[in-house]
Each structure stands twice: as C-alpha cells, then as structure tokens.
C-alpha cells in the first residue's frame, strides 16, 4: 500500500491505514523526536501525542502537500512546546559539552547490535552521536533531517517554517560546529 493511498484512506476514517502509517514511520519519527528532546521517556510521550494529533488533524491536511513534512512539522511543534515548558534553557544555545548529550550517546551506543566487526564502527558512531547530541537544537534538527531523514531542503524549510537560505545556513554552521567539536574532543583520531 503506497503512502498516498494510506493517507487518503486515513482521511476517510480507515483505521487500518492508521496502523500502517504508524508502522511505516515508527523509527523515523521516534528518531527525530529523540534528536530533539534527547530523552527516551519524553520521546515516547511525544511519539504518542504526535499520532493523536495526526488523528485529530488529518482532515485539515491538504493532500497536495508533502505528508512527511506535515508529520514532522506536527512532531516538531509538540517537541518545541514541550521543551519550552520543561527545559526552556535547552532551546537556547548550550555549550558543546552538554551532560544531557553524553547520557544520550551512551544509550544510543547500548542499542547497537553487538556484532564483532561492528564494534569499531560502533565506537566511532557513538562518538559522532555524542557530538551531535551536544549541538544546539537548531543545528541538531537540521542535521538529523538532512542526513538521517534525507529530507529535501524545501521540505526541511517547511518543517522548520523558515526560508531555504536559513536552512542552508543552519546546515553549514551545524556541520562546522560538529567538526570543531569532534576535532577538539578527539583530535587526530578518526571519528567516522
């Protein structure tokens, strides 16, 4: 069943389409929320709330728009509202050595399958994840959407509700910050 079919079925009230959509996006949506709030318990909650919001607002969704962008925009609003209430400081620019980020990276590393040849790669991956976690939220989300979600720039602009130029700027600055962070913490080592 294609995405468009599922979405139009959902608009007509088909609950199987809802299950299909939840399954289709489960990892991607969860990953994005996790990148934003950096806490699996909060991400769980926001995951639930996002899908409830989808059920409530699906009739207002314009089928000509990109569903991915719409879904991630909903998720982002909920996450930002949540952060504004619970951790307003995290919406400002925190220093790169954020303790929050380190806990997250450890959790991510623990969730990797323990393949022997994957260990080295896992270690490198966890260092990268750690540094990404330490970035300010505006850079984290752009990097996640671009590299993990592989979203088009126009769609990222929709999700962020920002002009395309801002997206590119954040992307560039985010990559710069990330590289600085990696090189200062693990100088001279391979981090990918």
């Amino acid at each position: 069943m294609g995405l468009d079919t599922d979405v139009s079925q959902l608009r007509r009230g088909d609950l199987d389409a809802l299950s299909a959509l939840v399954a289709r996006y489960q990892n991607r949506l969860y990953r994005y929320l996790l990148r934003l709030v950096r806490n699996s318990a909060d991400a769980d909650d926001l995951f639930q709330q996002t899908w409830i919001r989808v059920a409530e607002q699906i009739r207002r969704y314009d089928p000509n728009r990109n569903f991915d962008a719409w879904l991630f925009t909903l998720a982002r609003h909920l996450a930002i509202d949540f952060l504004r209430r619970k951790h307003p400081a995290s919406l400002d620019e925190p220093p790169s050595n954020d303790p929050h980020g380190e806990t997250m990276a450890a959790k991510l590393a623990a969730k990797q399958p323990a393949a022997l040849d994957g260990i080295l790669e896992r270690e490198r991956g966890s260092r990268l994840a750690e540094c990404v976690s330490g970035l300010p939220i505006h850079y984290r989300e752009v990097l996640s959407l671009r590299f993990e979600e592989e979203m088009k720039l126009e769609d990222i602009a929709v999700v962020l509700d920002a002009p395309l130029s801002t997206v590119k700027t954040r992307l560039r600055r985010g990559l710069d910050h990330l590289r600085n962070s990696l090189e200062s913490r693990y100088p001279g080592e391979r981090w990918t």
Binding site: N27, F47, Q48, I52, R124, R146
Partner: protein, 157 residues
C-alpha cells in the same frame, strides 16, 4: 588564493548535497585542480557519511502499540464530534422548518386560507406568534431546569 577561500565555504554544503547546480559545478571544477580543497571535500564527505550511518534508535516495544491505540481513540472521538455537530445542525434546521411551516397550517385550520399571502395582523397571527413564543420560552425554561438538574447530579457523582 581567494578562490579556495570561496570554495571552502561551499564544501560542507557540497557534502550535504545542498548546493545550487551552478555552485556545484564551480566546486567540482575547482576541486579537480586543487588537491587541498579536494582533501577538505573528502573530509566533509566522510563526516556526512558518518551522519548518514548513525544508528537508528528504536522505540520500546509497547510505545508504538500504545500510540496507535490512543490515536485510534482520538480518531473515534473526532468522528463522533463531527457526527454530533451534523445532527445538531439538522435538528435546528428541522425546528425552524417546523416553526415556519406551522404558520400556514394554523391559517388553514382557522379557515383563513385564501388570504394567507397577505400579512394582516389578524387575531390568528397573534395566536400563532403567541404559541411560537410560548414554545420557545417553555423550551428555554426546560433547558435551564434540566441543566441545573444535571449539574446537581454530576456534582454528587
């Protein structure tokens, strides 16, 4: 080497495939001739690949299922609300239709059929207006009494 400086600014975006086609061309042409910038581009692309390959965190087992269940409930509620709103709209239209329709009926029953296109203020008209007003007032009073009753019941529950 200002060309290199310019290109260097674009290299990170190049690794993110975020350049305009003309910028992309400039970069590829420069990188073809400049080994320093080519090496830089390589570094950025390595970083980009690392980002693309970050492990995907998975939600815990129950989370997805619970989200789906809650969303289903919300869906049902939305549908229920829409239905209720449509029913109420229909009923209000129906009530108005009855109010308007009862006028000619009353006229017929009171025998003044031929003159029902004129708007003389006959006693029949007053009777009809009075009856309708009584109906709506009675409805209003009943609404208040019932709402008060309901509030009492819910407070005790």
């Amino acid at each position: 080497m200002s060309a290199c400086d310019e290109i260097r600014d674009l290299l990170s975006l190049a690794a993110a495939d975020a350049l305009e086609p003309d910028e992309d061309e400039r970069v590829s042409r420069h990188v073809h001739d400049c080994p320093a910038c080519a090496a830089e581009l390589d570094n950025w692309q390595l970083l980009a690949r690392g980002l693309r390959r970050l492990p995907t965190p998975q939600p815990a087992a129950g989370v997805v299922e619970r989200a789906r269940a809650r969303a289903e409930l919300a869906f049902g509620e939305v549908a229920e609300q829409r239905w209720n709103r449509n029913v109420l709209a229909f009923l209000i239209a129906f009530a108005w239709t009855l109010t308007v329709l009862s006028w000619p009926i009353v006229r017929i029953l009171s025998g003044g059929l031929a003159s029902w296109f004129t708007t003389r203020l006959t006693p029949t008209w007053y009777a009809f207006a009075g009856l309708t007003a009584l109906g709506w007032v009675a409805g209003g009073i009943a609404a208040m009494v019932l709402a008060w009753h309901q509030r009492r019941e819910r407070r005790l529950a």
